[in-house]
């Protein structure tokens, strides 16, 4: 009798233990699920926060510091003679008021999309120099002035010839 009772009690205890184990497992699963949700939420919010900070930094950089960036000049450029002069104020170079120094002239022989840029430098260089002196004087204007000069010269010679002839006559 006692043995039977003990067995029954043991069975009940086993059943209870199994139920408890099941509940424990369910709780653990729920916890795991909660943890995963939390991780995803934290990840998303921190990513958004980082993007936000990044974008705001770029805006601030663009708006406030864009004109005072300390980037280096690319290696392709070299200091021109005029720039070198700035280091030594005791020997300033004689330069025109408007300097347009072109250092990186490329070859003009190969016709490629890149190389066709070179000649335009020459145009601008010439126009800058000319603009200071010429005031849009072209060769036909110079030619007309030459004609005027020659006409004046001829008139003068005619007057001189007359004077000379008169003087010869008097003598």
């Amino acid at each position: 009798m006692n043995n039977t009772e003990n067995e029954e009690i043991n069975l009940v205890n086993d059943e209870k233990a199994q139920q408890q184990e099941q509940i424990r497992k369910q709780h653990a699963k729920a916890r795991e699920s909660n943890n995963l949700t939390n991780v995803i939420t934290i990840f998303i919010s921190s990513t958004l926060a980082i993007i936000f900070i990044f974008v705001v930094s770029i805006v601030i950089y663009q708006k406030i510091f864009s004109t005072s960036s300390k980037e280096n000049i690319p290696d392709t450029t070299t200091a021109s003679p005029t720039e070198t002069a700035s280091k030594d104020k005791t020997t300033p170079e004689k330069k025109s008021d408007n300097i347009a120094v072109i250092d990186n002239a490329e070859t003009k022989t190969t016709i490629t999309e890149k190389n066709v840029k070179t000649p335009e430098i020459i145009i601008d260089d010439i126009t800058i120099d000319d603009a200071k002196n010429s005031e849009e004087i072209n060769w036909s204007i110079v030619g007309k002035q030459l004609i005027l000069l020659e006409e004046k010269r001829q008139q003068i010679i005619q007057l001189m010839t007359k004077k000379l002839a008169a003087s010869e006559g008097n003598n």
């Binding site: 072109i102 010439i126 072209n138 036909s140 030619g143 002035q145 004046k152 001829q154």
Partner: protein
Amino acid sequence: MLCVIYIISLSVNAANDVFVNGKYANKKTYRNKENKTTRLEISNAEALEITIIGHTEKNYDFLTIYDSNQIQIRHYSGLITDKFTVEGECIRIHFKSDAATVDEGVKVEIKAISLFHRIKTDLHQAINAMMQQGTGDIYFKINQLVDEFIVVETQLSQENTLLSGELGEKAAEQAAKIAEIYRNIAIQGHAIKASHTAQFEVLDALQHKTKTKINRLKGKQLKNKQLLEDSNLELENPNLPMIIQKLQISIDVTKKAIKALEKQEIAWKNFYRAQLQLIEITHDYSEKINFLLYFLNENSQLYELAAKNISLNEIELMTLNETLIDLDKLKSIVADIEASESEMAIQLLKIDETYITP
């Protein structure tokens, strides 16, 4: 949150199209030891028109401009006023001041222009450079001599101002001055020729750009025609009604695109032909300028000889007008040059009136 990010991103993409410092940035001057690099950009621009004004301490503070390939295209110091165009959608500006003395500052502005407009602008610049190269100083010197001659003419028309003996001396002096001017003009021959050669290279390069554009348009047309063919073939296969509708829309759009590209090609081809004519006229013009320089060089020697002869014998004055420069020939050369300049101006006007259909 995403909306905020989007709006902020839009403001980041906004083009920065002006660089200012000193008085242009509402300050009195720029600062000493400034070392700024700024990128100016207009998205999707074929070319940029750059306008620069300002003043920096001459020879010590510098403004340098680089193109989109990081190639230095301009370097300024002192008084700056310039306007030019570059290809691409961006430029880089570097402003550097030394440790002492500042000035008012600079302003650099960019404006998007089309490749078509840029080629037109460059054509104008090349032609103007060719017409004006070597004229400034010469014109000033000729004017001075004309003024001197007017004074002498007035003196001669008065009684007893110049007497026999003085006349020969004066005539010799004038002949020597003319000889000098003609020689000065002729001396510039090499520089003028070199400048003309440079401008011809520019014109050739612009023509090449035009040709490249035409080829690109042709390529686009071919691509669209292939697309049209594919869509038509696809339409012949049994398809769902929705897919058939989509294909028909695609065919319509492609046909319109091909028409638009054909119109553009025609306009660019007209532009190309106008450039060819202009180049032909400029070569002719260059020859005429060379001939004028040759003519003046020959006559400078004649004047030198005349000056010596009159100095030796005043009576030589009597035959001087027959032996010196052939004025009719000079007039004819100048008229030829003027005709070429008019032709160039007309051709440029034709080019200006060429337009690209949208």
